[in-house]
Amino acid sequence: MSELLTAISIIFIVMGPFLLVANRFDLPTVPFFILAGIVAGIGMDWFGIDEALTLELAQYGIALLVFSFGVGIDLSSIRSVLIDSETAALGQVLLIGSLGVGAGVALGVPLSEALYLGIAAALSSTIVGTALLQVEIRMNLVHGRVAESIQFLQDLLAILFLLVLSAGVLAADPIAEMLGYGLSLLVAAVLVNRFLFDAIGRLAGDSSELMILATVSLLALFIGAAEVAGVSIVVGAFAAGLAVRHDPTEYLGLFNGLQSIKDFFVAIFFVTVGALVVWPFVEIGWAASVDKILIAGALVFLTAVVKPAVTTAILLYRGYESRSATLAGLNTDQVSEFALIIAIEALLLGVLTESVFDAIILAAAVTMISSSITNYYSEEIYRALSDRGIFTSGHGKIDAWSDVPDRMFDHVVIVGYGRHGQKLVETCEEHDRPYVVIENDPARRNEVRAECDAVVIGDAMERYTWEKAAAEDARVIVSTVESETVSRRILSLDFRADIVLRARDQETALSLLEAGALYVNVPALLAGRQLVDQIQALLDGDLTAAELREQQLTELESNTHTSLNGSADDTPSVRS
């Protein structure tokens, strides 16, 4: 058995227990890979194996990480993110980036290396961030979506940084050359995607094995092209990802397979990063250790405290209400995996010294874990900030954007303007019944204001929003929001009105009923009952499967004309 196999074995064996811990406490895996790496580094020393041995495999991990980022990109969503005015978040990158560079220089790091500290401070981790916000993103809550698109933009920026960094110097000409190469790679990727990929798919037939091989070969080709052009292989990998980008429907086996291959190599990458860290105080002397800790500490402070504060401030300025802004801001309080990639590339190129590299890795591990904690307690953090009166100017925005008649009573308060909300508004209008819609998503603001008579743009968690909607005098409050936090909040406000809520599952629904809701809508249960009726009809022979299909198609067609324009509540998130 080769040394390399021993190294890989050690990596995986050490990784196992760390992953169990991460899973036990529901924490993101990346920081635990890094921690496992630090331990695995000791194990490899034991066996006299050089950690750099796994570097090549780690490079495959980087390539596959960026590759799958490319595969996952939905081009149309880039457009919607840009339109979504969240580009303002770019300001955050600039500001924090400069602060990072400044802090580095202040601590005596040469400017060329301080640049990397700036990048590390500015970029946030998509893997960690989106993992922590999974539920919010799935439910399409505002702060989930905002955080996701900020991360997404930062990832694109990271690719751009890598492209520029491969120029080696900060001069216009070489950078322009690199950008040119990068652009040609992207164009090649788009061409492959258009003209070649489906042809490969046809030739592979039903063989996932061949499809996976072909895709990995494409990745190798693009990386090779990048290497020949002198561009970072990461850019090649990203282009390869774009070349393979495809609706997974037809190539389920391929995308499942790529996932396994990616998980394998990416794990090796993160663990290797950890293994490369030189442990302060243990492996090096006092002075160097203090230096390293200081830099890492500054980075942690910038990432975990200043960055979320700046992001929140920018979002508030852009008109998001304070809770969404804070929650989204808190989601950016960690160092990005792309910063790790940039750091390791720079280390390999010899433009980054070991101590700055280590500081970045340590800061990444620390902030990725601390980020899980702050995101777990994000509501509490927001409450605490809010109670101290930090967000004072909030009501002005609600007043400015809301449109409610002065005196309302016996009206219907509708929370959320998704598909359910729209249907409810229609019903109220048919009945000539006064209503107010509460919506907190700025993206839906114009739509709601145009279509509804009375609107409050604000967070249902805030008492002021409800004052604005005159909830005290309402006859019924219907919430179409699935979040249990919001439901509980509504019940706790103790209105006289009847309260109709929505819940994800039966258990929550039952407890909400007990807590005083008049009725709780569980869509899945309704669908289940309808389903049972149809199955029963089919099994009893009341109608054949073909007849059922005909009947449903007719119904679908008639439905199409009335409601195709209404978006469903679960609109797809930024990335598919």
């Binding site: 074995s9 196992g16 291959i261 629904a509 389903l531 099994l539």
Partner: protein, 583 residues
Amino acid sequence: MVTEAALTVDLAIILLSATLAGFVAKQTGQPTIIAYILVGIVIGPAALGFVEVGELTELLSELGLAFLLFLLGIKMRIDEIQHVLSPIVKISIPQMIAVFLAGTGIAFALGFGPVESFLIGLAVIYSSTAVAIKMLNDNDEATSLHGKIDVGVLLIQDIVVVIILAVLAAGQPDDLAEVATTLAVVLGLVVLVTIAALAASKTVLPRIFRRIADNKEVFFLVALSWAFLFVFVSDNINLFLAPLGIEAYLSIEMGAFMAGVAIAQLPYSKELQDRVNPLTDLFVMVFFVSVALDLETAQLLAYWQEAIVAALVLIPIKFLVFVYLLDWQGFDTETTFLGSIHMIQVSEFGIIVIAVAYTAGFVEAEVLGFITLLAIFTMAVSVYFIEFRHRLFDRFEPTLSRVTSEGTFETTGREYRDHAVVVGYDDVTRNALPILADRYDDLVVIDRRVDHIDTLEADGYDVIYGDARKGTIRKDAALKKADFVLSSSAELAVNKALLRDVGDGTAVFLEADQLQDARDLYDSGAHYVIMTQYLSSDKLAGYLRAYLDEETAFEAAIDDDVELLQTGKPIPDINRLGGELDE
């Protein structure tokens, strides 16, 4: 000092040429393995000399073998092969002895030395897992009776190969006593590792995997961690034995295999197969390419005539041995014929056996060339026999049935037919289960949450743990033969995959979030598409209407729902279950 790590050009060449050859093979109906081996010959020192075995290729091909055996291990579900276990053992042991004798005899007759002949005999007894299982899978026959027999026999052959590899890896023995000692130590270690693996599968593994099964990434990586633990211990066994003063060898293949067997006994193994498969494919490709990378043309072609003669003699012998043994075990003529025709080639393990023997210094590189050619040739021929198996059977049935006896073997294994399949257990499908169970003899539920599986099993349903995105999982539910399929996945990709897999007469009920998805599904053949959001928003609007008109009417209307809420059996909450385990 680390340098800018440029990715290896060798690996890129291997990848690209293997891909190209793979596609050519696919178009011409050849198994991909042959394409990979040929690529190795072409780009290796035997022909063009582009590529040599480097550290990384060596690692990947080592991993390829380890993963292949790990994957095989994961498939070793004792309860699934139990009912054919006895005939399988009775077939495989005499078969291996007979083919070993024949192989040794042929090799000796062709002029190989006694040790070489003996090793060649050992190398030809296995049929190719890669070819046989791949063809069975492609033709949807893996779960048929002859498929099960073949899989079982292949697995027993694999166990034998693992033991033989372990003995060979020990290197050149001085005398017979040393061979016996090595064999004893190896067998002892194999027994120890087996006990360790099986004990783990009864004790710690169920608890660990139960907790992580819902997290795809952690689940996969911890399983790999487990496999590498065995690989590492096997490889460094001397480190552990040194204090005892014993020296022994254990192959990493053996370790990987036993790690897999331990996981196979858990309900989550199916899901893992699909996760490990792509990595295995990729690494095994590197292995097959690198097989010939060590060989010069002269070495490869040194015994080409002998290889062809051996192949022409071995193929009929293997076939006849299987026919005789299957018939003896009371299988009917068709099962006997089909079961035998899949097994007539020499396995990739044969190459591995000789490769290990070559590394250990038992044989010359030329013998490795011989066995490589023999394997390539028999595999290629067998693929065509398997392809035309039904036509061949029709042709030879009269002759065959004259010499074979009546089939007496009774299938106790159940096969799904005209059954119902439900994908995903949730609030939507839950209430449909009793109705379907009432109407169908077999109801299979596919779900990938551990707590759901527990609930379902407690209720007596057949359950497949896994993700319906995976081909193996869908295949296991025998969608093609199902009468009714219901999916509560709103994922278009999953639902379209289901529609592709079902038979013509299957009624298919699916779920969709968006109108256009629903239309797409109807166009692809769905019979009913549930649209929860639309249904629920219409219903809610209806309730509001009733409420605004007359509150009593509304109350009557919601009573039903509230009752449904209160009487329906709640789905266990995942967090609560997790909590119980800790206490």
